[in-house]
């Protein structure tokens, strides 16, 4: 996969450290993601993956270090700040309201209001505009969704994942963080999610993928950043290493490969 035209840094994380009480969860972690690149974030349980993701998505504030989006330093103190900087996180539980339909979930807390300013002041919903834009967002992912009026709890796991990704991309995210997107999915649906990741990275979105699934990482990621006990143990192009070497890096057995 040659993406030289898009080789501009979308997200740069510099020297991030974070400790909770006496436990140092992250120690001077740095990495970058280019536009259109898919980077896998790997590591054993407790290696600091979730802490790092939480720092980037605004749930935790890092003790030290910088986060740069498109070359600009950003101050991320809350999930809303992260979103305003163009970073969207697709959480493992997807943050969907099961009783709501696809469109309602796509626009949750970002509802389009009526054109009439008086009605808009009352918070009058422009349902037509949301359906129209929602359809576009889903179409952009070429994904197979039965109907935009279908409630989320009637969708398959893969379809729900697609809606969550569409929501992130629809809000103009330059960087999408995905937390174990295929953890609860079967083989066929995992393949669909991989396809979605390819589609959005092809559109220039930088993707940070947290995964335990080696196969998944090898299939979808361009690079892998491996955390080991809170430090970055490796930053390697996936095609340069074998699955066994990756496992070695994660478990800390084979650090020389870095």
């Amino acid at each position: 996969m040659v993406r030289t035209a898009l080789d501009q840094v979308a997200l740069e994380v510099k020297h991030i450290s974070k400790s909770f009480g006496g436990v140092q969860a992250l120690r001077d972690v740095s990495f970058t993601i280019n536009k259109g690149e898919v980077v896998g974030l790997l590591g054993d349980n407790g290696a600091g993956k979730s802490t790092l993701v939480r720092c980037i998505s605004g749930i935790h504030a890092p003790d030290s270090g910088q986060i740069l989006v498109n070359g600009q330093e950003v101050n991320i103190n809350s999930p809303l700040d992260a979103r305003a900087s163009g970073i969207e996180t697709v959480f493992q539980d997807l943050a969907m309201v099961p009783e709501f339909n696809i469109t309602e979930n796509l626009f949750l807390n970002r509802e389009i209001r009526h054109k009439n300013p008086i009605l808009a002041w009352f918070g009058w919903l422009d349902t037509k505009a949301m359906e129209h834009r929602g359809r576009k967002a889903i179409n952009r992912l070429n994904s197979r969704i039965p109907s935009y009026k279908e409630k989320i709890h009637n969708l398959s796991g893969g379809q729900r994942q697609a809606v969550a990704i569409a929501r992130a991309v629809n809000w103009g995210a330059d960087i999408v963080i995905m937390d174990e997107p295929t953890a609860a999915l079967g083989v066929e649906q995992s393949a669909q999610v991989n396809e979605l990741i390819n589609v959005i990275s092809g559109q220039g979105v930088a993707v940070l993928l947290i995964s335990h699934n080696m196969q998944h990482v090898v299939e979808t990621c361009d690079r892998a950043v491996v955390l080991y006990q809170g430090t970055s143990a490796a930053d390697v192009a996936v095609k340069d290493v074998s699955k066994e070497q990756l496992v070695g890096l994660i478990t800390g057995v084979n650090q020389s490969a870095a």
């Binding site: 999930p79 809303l80 979103r83 959480f91 539980d93 997807l94 943050a95 969907m96 309201v97 099961p98 009783e99 709501f100 309602e104 949750l108 807390n109 970002r110 509802e111 209001r113 009352f122 918070g123 009058w124 919903l125 709890h153 009637n154 398959s156």
Partner: protein, 322 residues
């Protein structure tokens, strides 16, 4: 794929049934009484206007409770708020006039709603227990400030606008019902406000993750529920020409039954204003029909209890299947 399809199909049929349930039962009960009471005045426009007028406070409480249920809270204090707001209104009326009396009564609602909401959020205790407690407190306060005596209302303007009045031949109690129901319907179904209420009730985690201020949404819902009860108190006071600490005492069961049978989930996330209104009229019609059939208030109370159990059972069954 085939199984997924048939599941979806079944679910849709079930949902259709649940949402339409109130219409079926409304007309079944109507038909039943129409047949049994064919030689009485049951099936007359006058009687139905009467039912709507008498049920107006219940309807408005049901509409208010729908908001609390939408966010996943129950509000047991509404019956007690009816008594306190009616008493506060009646006590203020003689000295300060209608505007102050109405403002004072509604303020009772705002305060109770805020207290309920803040206690629930701060103590992280279920709304069921907190509002059960505040119900006791408010009832005690109502008994205390009235010395267990009724406060009569002789202000003819008040009893006109909150009781027996008619505008262009339409009873004001019917107008109150329609106006409140209309506003509530729009707020819940057409505005961002209602969308967020239902989101918080349907999945608090998702609402929080998407940046909705969950605590504020829940507070708003409880304030609406209690202000609606306060308005119901004024309507009782207006219709009965006075307030008494016993007002609203027996209404809690009726209101919950009305809302539940109308299709609002008792677990949050799904709410129907039209259902709440039809549900409360159904309860009114059943009361009216039972009276005309010669049943006592005791038997009416039994009927209300049975209806609540049926309504809630249907709701829980659906939750399991859905």
């Amino acid at each position: 794929m085939l199984t997924a399809h048939s599941e979806r199909f079944n679910f849709k049929r079930l949902a259709l049934k649940r949402e339409a349930f109130i219409y079926y039962i409304f007309f079944v009960v109507l038909a039943l009484f129409a047949i049994v009471l064919h030689d009485t005045a049951f099936l007359s426009v006058n009687n139905f206007m009467n039912i709507i007028r008498q049920t107006a406070p219940i309807t408005i409480m049901a509409v208010g409770l729908t908001f609390a249920l939408a966010v996943g809270h129950i509000d047991l204090s509404i019956g007690a708020v009816v008594a306190l707001s009616a008493l506060v209104g009646a006590l203020l009326l003689e000295q300060f006039g209608i505007p102050v009396a109405v403002a004072g009564a509604l303020l009772v609602g705002v305060c109770v709603g805020l207290i309920n909401g803040l206690l629930i959020e701060r103590l992280q205790v279920s709304s069921l227990l907190i509002t059960l407690g505040t119900m006791g407190v408010i009832t005690g306060v109502a008994r205390q400030i009235s010395n267990l005596e009724s406060v009569p209302i002789i202000n003819p303007d008040f009893t006109f606008y909150f009781g027996a009045g008619e505008v262009f031949g339409i009873p004001v109690l019917f107008l109150w019902t329609i106006v409140i129901a209309g506003i509530a319907y729009l707020a819940l179904n057409k505005l961002v406000f209602g969308r967020h209420l239902l989101a918080v009730g349907g999945s608090p985690k998702a609402a929080l993750a998407m940046g909705i201020n969950v605590v504020r949404v829940r507070l708003n819902a409880l304030v609406i529920s209690s202000v609606a009860a306060a308005l119901a108190g004024l309507l009782y006071a207006g219709r009965l020409h006075g307030a008494r600490y016993t007002l609203g005492e027996a209404d809690l069961l009726t209101v919950i039954a009305a809302v539940a049978i109308g299709g609002t989930s008792l677990f949050g996330g799904r709410a129907s204003i039209v259902g709440a209104i039809l549900g409360s009229w159904l309860m009114g019609m059943i009361n009216n029909g039972l009276i005309l059939s010669g049943f006592s208030t005791n038997e009416q109370m039994i009927a209300r209890g049975v209806i609540l159990i049926i309504a809630v059972t249907i709701g829980v069954k659906e939750l399991k299947n859905g």
